[in-house]
Amino acid sequence: MTLPQIFFAYFAVALTGLSLLVVTRRNPVHGVMWMLILFIHVAGLYLFLNAEFLAAIQIIVYAGAILVLYLFVVMLLNLKKIEKERKFQHIWIVGLLVSVAFLTLLIPLLGKFSVYPPPGEYSVERINSEGQIMTVGRVLYTKFLLPFEIASLILLVSIIGAVVLSKRKLN
């Protein structure tokens, strides 16, 4: 195995294990804490895909902001009551069926992926010579102008949604 493969194997195993830890913890706060380590590992994976801007964003937005949001949501819930109740284990057969269904959907797609695809318009060399953030900026604000502006609308909806949902309790 080459060095990148060793790192990829580590990240793949760690991500699978950490996601299992997140969903199986009895204490939701512990689950969220494992998720923090999970997000940092995802950032590591991005780093090895030559996406260091994405890795930084993963740390700033996911590990920094979204995780805090998750923590507050967990704290909004009545934890004592939740811990006493059994989790969703009594419907594990449904979960199994859904996962198997998704797996069978994914299997035909496996052949379509290539581990070393030919480099497209933006090869590693070109991105590195031009600068990562420069490349992102030039493409995002010209070619993907409409999705970018739609993103602002989605963010607006989330602000309004959060305010509307909690307004009743504020007054």
């Binding site: 260091e52 937005v61 923590l71 704290m75 909004l76 307004k167």
Partner: protein, 123 residues
């Protein structure tokens, strides 16, 4: 080349992460091996500045925390969009300036809405 990329300039970051994990775990394991274990009730009680702990440690937090966290996420994402825009600003010119202003104004609507609804005041 995409499969063989090594971010070698991140070696210091990975080293310091590994070192800090090692220090943290090492201190815990060393303490576990060295310290005597003689627990009794007072020793196991949570420390609250010398007072006896009163009430449950877990209660439902105010929904105000949720709004603050949500607004933080939204404006954090806005700041993230500003990074590549600022770096590529010279190439984008007036066009880029106008589209970013549209983006900011749309989010400003949400900000003003949250402000007027009193989501930013704490009491």
């Amino acid at each position: 080349m995409s499969g063989n990329y090594i971010p070698s300039h991140y070696l210091p970051v990975i080293s310091i992460l590994a070192f800090s994990v090692l220090v943290g775990l090492g201190a815990l394991i060393a303490g576990l091996l060295v310290r005597p274990r003689r627990p009794y009730e007072q020793k196991l009680a949570p420390y609250e500045s010398g007072n006896l702990p009163v009430g449950e440690p877990r209660y439902r937090f105010s929904v105000k925390f949720y709004i603050v966290a949500m607004l933080f996420v939204v404006f954090d994402v806005e700041a993230v969009f500003l990074y590549p825009w600022a770096v590529a600003y010279d190439r984008l010119g007036l066009f880029g300036f106008v589209e970013m202003m549209i983006f900011i104004v749309i989010l400003l609507v949400g900000y003003v809405y949250a402000w007027k609804k009193g989501a930013l005041t704490w009491e």
